[in-house]
């Protein structure tokens, strides 16, 4: 079920109504849990079983890890949780990719092998809920959490529909304590939650799908025909599309959860205003980068084992982060480039930090724009159909290819959108999103909300799934 659909509006209205009935908190949690399964079943009912498997395995593994006295037993049950969750992810997400590469490797060795197409359907959001569920057993293993006494709470944590299919990835320690007492939004929270839902939908439907998406599709769909301007504008369009699409989803998710009285963690903090790559990852898809940092980078040793090991650890984390986004070499390259950028930034900082003054507004702005430009180049690998298409577009970006794909109207539309997006993020970079919006007079907020609601009512009816659903 997409947030940008009529069926979701109906679904949410029913869920909110049920949530405000005079029922016990336990019944309300059960309602939310069932509603979440229904929400997921709207895509493919049989895949609800995968949610049950993740839920059951991590629930049992968590209890066994906590109860075990011997390290081997604790490790065994953590291994079970990792094997099941990552096994599900590996089979559904990487099965076809692994087979494809295995066949290519055999071909290189001169062995002809033609297996039948695996025909594996990727369950929507599997990368998100397997990580979320996994965080529970990992936190119990690390001693950060005790097994939760209520299975219903845990099932709700794994399946909570606002963030089930595209995050934010919520940790058990953040969500489960909220299940103790009845959650019910105040009237003001409901107002803010619904406003966030509207704002998120506006980001998705108008800014990502209507303004940026078609231009990005046009350029990335025909990289061989893109010239210098087309390639750059197409890349800028995609950088806007992916931000508004994904941040839009997170805004909707946080807003919907708040309408039900639950608080979800922030997932984006004006990322294109970052001055450097490590800052970018502290602002972009925060729930994933902090997950990878806490459970992978730190586990590998983080920055405690010297500069070389730090670089290796960061690169390995980013490579896996790239692969998390999709089963394709271009995602691995994208992750690899980000790993390299983080290492390069660390090296440059150690040499130049004391020699160059970056406190002035001009220098800060230049740093931000330089970071944004390089991030945009990395998006080419992320969005391209394959590595060949990515290199074709990069060639076009250096002027090595002629082409005339985009109209002047499309070019000016994307340039304008990019300027507004960057200016907005730059001005708000040090502010809390809600606090910043709350400074605006109420009548101006009303006017903005009226424009948002009108735009949504008059938006083209074409349904486009959120980009991150495929991950």
């Amino acid at each position: 079920m997409l947030f940008n659909s009529l069926i979701f509006i109906l679904f949410l209205a029913i869920v909110l109504f049920m949530h405000h009935l005079p029922l016990s908190w336990k019944v309300k949690k059960l309602n939310l849990c069932l509603a979440s399964y229904l929400f997921y079943a709207a895509w493919n009912p049989p895949f609800v079983v995968l949610l049950w498997i993740s839920t059951l395995v991590d629930w049992l593994a968590g209890r066994k890890i906590a109860a075990a006295r011997r390290l081997r037993t604790r490790r065994f049950f953590l291994g079970l949780s990792l094997t099941v969750n990552l096994g599900l992810l590996g089979y559904f997400k990487y099965g076809g990719f692994l087979l494809e590469n295995f066949v290519a490797m055999l071909e290189l060795m001169g062995i002809g092998f033609r297996p039948a197409a695996p025909g594996i359907v990727l369950p929507v959001g599997i990368s998100f809920y397997t990580f979320q569920s996994l965080s529970y057993s990992l936190d119990i293993y690390r001693g950060k959490l005790k097994p939760w006494p209520s299975f219903l709470d845990f099932a709700l944590f794994v399946t909570f529909f606002p963030q089930l299919v595209a995050g934010p990835i919520v940790r058990a320690v953040e969500f489960l304590p909220q299940c103790k007492k009845e959650r019910r939004a105040t009237a003001e929270q409901l107002g803010w939650g619904l406003a966030m839902l509207g704002l998120g939908l506006f980001e998705k439907v108008i800014l990502a799908d209507t303004l940026a998406g078609p231009v990005a599709d046009q350029v990335f769909g025909a990289p061989a025909r893109a010239g210098l301007v087309d390639a750059w504008v197409g890349t800028l369009a995609f950088s806007a599309q992916i931000f508004f699409d994904f941040a839009g989803y997170s805004t909707c998710a946080i807003g919907v959860a708040l309408c039900l009285g639950f608080v979800l963690p922030e997932n984006f903090r004006f990322p294109y205003a970052a001055m450097g790559f490590s800052e970018f990852w502290r602002r972009w898809h925060i729930s994933l980068s902090s997950f990878l940092r806490d459970y992978l980078y730190f586990w590998l040793g983080g920055s405690r084992k010297g500069p070389l090991r730090t670089t290796i650890n960061a690169s390995a984390t980013m490579l896996l982060g790239g692969l998390w986004h999709g089963a394709g070499w271009h995602f691995v390259i994208w992750g690899g480039i980000h790993g390299f950028l983080l290492a390069a930034e660390r090296a440059l900082k150690s040499v130049f930090q004391d020699r160059i003054d970056t406190s002035g507004a001009g220098a800060r702005l230049a740093l931000m724009l330089a970071t944004y430009c390089i991030i945009c180049i990395t998006w080419v690998f992320f969005r391209a159909q394959d590595t060949g298409a990515a290199f074709m577009l990069l060639t076009a970006m250096t002027g090595g290819q002629g082409g005339d794909l985009l109209s002047a109207a499309a070019v000016s539309r994307i340039c304008l959108l990019t300027v507004f997006m960057l200016a907005g993020q730059w001005l708000l970079r040090d502010l809390d999103f809600r606090a910043a919006l709350s400074l605006i007079p109420w009548w101006l907020r009303s006017a903005a909300l009226a424009v948002i609601l009108l735009s949504l009512a008059l938006a083209p009816g074409e349904e486009r799934a959120f980009i991150y659903f495929q991950f």
Partner: protein, 336 residues
Amino acid sequence: MPSSTSSSKQRRGYDGWLRSLAVGLLAALVILSAWEAFWRGAGFAPVIEDDLGIWTLKRRNVQKGDGRTAVLLGSSRMQLDVDPQVFHEATGVETVMLAIDGSSPLPVLADLAADHSFAGLVLCSLLPQWLADGSADQGRSAKWVRKFHQQKWSSRVETRLSLLLQSHFVFRYPGLLPDKLWEKLTGGEVPRPPYAPMREDRYRPADYSRIDIAQLRKARIQRQRRIVEEAAPLAGEAFAARISEIEAMVSRIHQRGGRVIFLRMPSCGEILKLEEKTWPRRGYWDRFAATTSARTVHFADYPALSLFDCPDGSHLDFRDAGSFTRKLTDVLGLQR
């Protein structure tokens, strides 16, 4: 990140949002109502968009029916010329319009042939190019058939909700959405109500008195010229193979007790001349008619069907469509 929503600090952060939202919502409703009233005043009425969603609902009706449904296949000529309601009244048979504008009906026929629950009547309008060119089968109809089999329950609910909105409000008419409106206004065009709005049964009554018919006819002829230029009609063995392919579909339906009738719907003037020049009747239609076990009806062979005028060269006016439908059922011997 706070873990609870109950602190007073947090409550302060949410202050005024309910009022902002309520006023914003009210303002949006007032403006939207004014927008709706303006276009209704300009002669617009609610219009249903012809898309995959409504087509799959109709296709599902065939699947869920008693297997004896009459199915109308084809492209825009079937959608504009044959009124399913009149067809139903004349024959007493449940009638479903599955024609798809600008697309070959053969993928849908193949799908019905493979559907073991179907043993009804198929009225299939074949344009000469659909018959003579196999590559035409890769278009929209093939995609819709594929999507029909993959469709989830939630998509059907979404379509029903969308139909509810479209059938009650003018503001959801695609031609009046801001992007299309902008295109029209910057192109110096005045937005006009559609001349062939679709009904919920997917029939599209065309009222040519609403538009500049000379301009439409000219546009149709230009379009037909483009189609003719790109045409790559099959010949010899390849055409014989295509006929056999179609015959295999027909046989499967006939074996289950169903019936298939192929129709060559009326076209007039320059359009008819262009069709005849590119896909001559003798070389294609007649050869096909002589081979297939299905009944074939060419409009030119029946005075009752050939006396109708096609104002745009390709389709009938709604004032004639009812009469044409009745005459068609008469010619086919389907009247109850």
